[in-house]
Assembly symmetry: C2
Homo-oligomer: 208 residues x 2
């Protein structure tokens, strides 16, 4: 008997390659080497597979947010860590994160509502870190926390569109992408750009 | 006789609302109040409408890039202007830009190739401005121009996902979104953060 996880994995891969709407349950059954009728043992609908994949990816993001937000570090350092961890998580879970970012519109209304609530929770976590940083004086007060959250999320979600493991002449390591994005974004947010840059430079050095 | 522009506009709106794959030529004909057979007077295929809409949106972006890149201003100032203009253009042409960012995978292989070339040209324009800024000393040398271009484009493309004209308690003006993103991103890229911040503050003041 095939494991449900394998069905999810195969379905997710095809959804990403062909697009969800263009994928049939027949395509999924064919890739698994089973009859279409046997697929219904695992799932009642194609949409349910999409929902499970998106929900799984988002849950991992929320876990990362909660773990990092709960730390005692200054808000700007927690935001920096969250940026790096987000990029590493996105690239390590490219199927689920791509579906959550690109195919969410194909969810049923009730599933879309659940997913939307989790997405809002995640975005709110970024907003709260920015607001906390403005309160403790580490983040510039002239920026709107909501717009900062949306700008940062745009930058760090976008790799779903261009990152492919092992592609290109010199493979870009996810941690390098995260580190460079964090460098650019955190320096742009810091209330003390020069001090922040020095601190980051020292931090990078000691990690090597 | 209906104008082709009206057909494009109606088709684009439905593609955005329902998704391209889920839209039929019957849907488009219904919205125009014409018979499906009459639609073929304007276009041979649904895909051709998508291509025209995407191509039109991208051409406007390229025009903006070329106009701004050709200026005599320092590279970092041109990049700043391009960020603001990009956000204003994206929000003012939300249908075309959304399709170019979200439905490009439904293009035919030959159209996809053409579109991909224009997208690369646009991204290369950002990379070149960053590299020029690193050469003239206005942009930090420790960041990879390609990653900066991808990070900036992610932040400023993302509004296609969340910006809706007139939505929300207090409507976010596109120029405010562009200005705040430029503030955050340019301060993060500047080789002289403090000087840049002062200069920007002066620039903003004089514009009001």
């Amino acid at each position: 008997m095939r494991r449900y996880e394998e069905v999810l994995e195969v379905a997710g891969k095809i959804f990403c390659e062909k697009g969800y709407e263009a994928t049939s349950t027949q395509d999924i059954a064919d890739s698994l080497g089973i009859l279409k009728g046997s697929l219904y043992y695992y799932t009642q609908t194609k949409e349910n597979l999409l929902f499970e994949l998106i929900q799984g990816a988002l849950q991992g993001s929320i876990d990362n947010l909660q773990r990092i937000a709960a730390k005692d570090d200054p808000a700007i350092d927690r935001l920096r860590e969250l940026i790096c961890v987000h990029v590493e998580y996105l690239t390590a879970n490219l199927v689920g994160t791509t579906l959550s970012l690109h195919e969410h519109r194909s969810l049923s209304p009730s599933h879309a509502k659940l997913v939307s609530a989790v997405e809002h929770e995640y975005q709110a976590g970024f907003e709260e870190l920015v607001a906390a940083g403005q309160k403790d004086g580490s983040i510039r007060a002239d920026l709107d926390p909501k717009l900062v959250a949306l700008g940062v999320l745009g930058a760090i979600n976008w790799p779903y569109r261009w990152y492919r493991p092992g592609r290109g002449r010199k493979k870009l390591k996810p941690e390098v992408i995260g580190e460079q994005f964090a460098e650019m974004l955190i320096a742009g947010l810091s209330a003390q750009p020069a001090r922040r840059a020095r601190k980051n430079a020292a931090g990078r050095g000691s990690r090597r």
